[in-house]
């Protein structure tokens, strides 16, 4: 085990800003991509249902 406490874990030996800055931005971007994927699919399906009405 590398860490004796949560505080030590978050501090990352003084490199917390760099380590968590990398992981945080990556997590945020992946989350944004997943939301965008869902929105695009929902919009595509909604557009198709709208068109289906007058066909």
């Amino acid at each position: 085990m590398n860490w004796n406490s949560w505080a030590e874990f978050w501090a990352m030996g003084g490199y917390g800003l760099y380590v968590w800055g990398s992981y945080g931005v990556t997590t945020a971007l992946v989350a944004v991509e997943i939301v965008m994927l869902r929105v695009r699919r929902r919009n595509a399906l909604a557009a198709l249902r709208g068109e289906g009405g007058h066909r």
């Binding site: 490199y15 760099y18 380590v19 990398s22 971007l29 699919r41 399906l45 557009a47 198709l48």
Partner: protein, 255 residues
């Protein structure tokens, strides 16, 4: 228009290139790749933060490697796959190939940005600079612009088939940048270090660090496949909206 055919051993392989066949297959595959990505990511983070020891030179800052290296690998690999599908689309005029290329571009751009971002945050404590105009960093930045250029070019052309062809030419020309990125650390005197992992030598890093990195790389692979399949299904819904089977699928499916 004639359907293209590629018959090898009595199987018409282009059957699988039809959006109608591909759409349900991709839909069934997405949850598997998604859950595999989540499980591999959890395992990789556990190994990376709780099993892999502190680096004796870089302290804890080296733990950025578990994000940085998998993202950099994916950024290059996705580009090659994207250019491959774009090229297949140009050569055989198959609709699905262009859709796959378009579906890969945003995920590739994401990993390229993550590689640059995590690299900057790693460079500051180890080199003392967020950014240097080093061959490795510069060629990776060009890769980000290639992804953006590909997406902007496709977005600017209304006819999807013409957008595919124009994008394919850009993607294929840009492939020359990939070996430049990969070999930049050998060809030039770069601040960026050389490869720690290669196919021909044992990795020059602790086994647990290597395991964490490979797990995260596999997670990035699984995530990229899931994301690209998901996006390609939306692209099929958008582009093939006049096909009968699409209307049926749209009524049947929930978002």
């Amino acid at each position: 228009m004639n359907q293209p055919t590629l018959v090898i051993g009595n199987v018409n392989w282009f059957k699988y290139a039809s959006p109608q066949t591909f759409y349900p297959l991709a839909g069934a595959a997405i949850p598997w790749f998604g859950w595999a990505a989540a499980a591999l990511c959890a395992a990789g983070l556990y190994v990376g933060f709780f099993v892999a020891p502190t680096d004796f030179q870089q302290g804890e800052s080296y733990r950025i490697i578990f994000i940085h290296v998998p993202a950099a690998w994916m950024s290059m690999f996705i580009y090659v796959v994207m250019a491959f599908w774009a090229g297949v689309g140009l050569a055989f005029n198959t609709r699905l190939s262009g859709m796959m290329a378009s579906a890969l571009a945003p995920t590739g751009a994401l990993f390229t940005f993550v590689a640059l971002w995590s690299g900057a945050l790693w460079g500051k404590p180890t080199w003392g600079a967020w950014w240097v105009w080093d061959a490795r960093l510069t060629s990776e930045l060009i890769l980000l612009f290639l992804y953006f250029g590909f997406m902007a070019l496709q977005a600017a052309i209304d006819d999807p088939r013409r957008a595919d062809r124009a994008g394919a030419v850009l993607a294929l020309v840009g492939v020359v940048n990939i070996p430049i990125i990969y070999f930049s650390v050998q060809w030039w005197n770069t601040l960026h270090q050389g490869a720690s992992v290669s196919l021909t030598r044992a990795p020059t890093m602790a086994a647990t660090m290597f395991t964490g990195m490979i797990l995260m790389a596999l997670a990035a692979w699984m995530y990229s496949i899931a994301a690209a399949l998901h996006r390609s299904r939306s692209i099929i819904l958008e582009r093939e909206r006049n096909a009968d089977w699409i209307g049926q699928a749209a009524r049947r499916e929930r978002p």
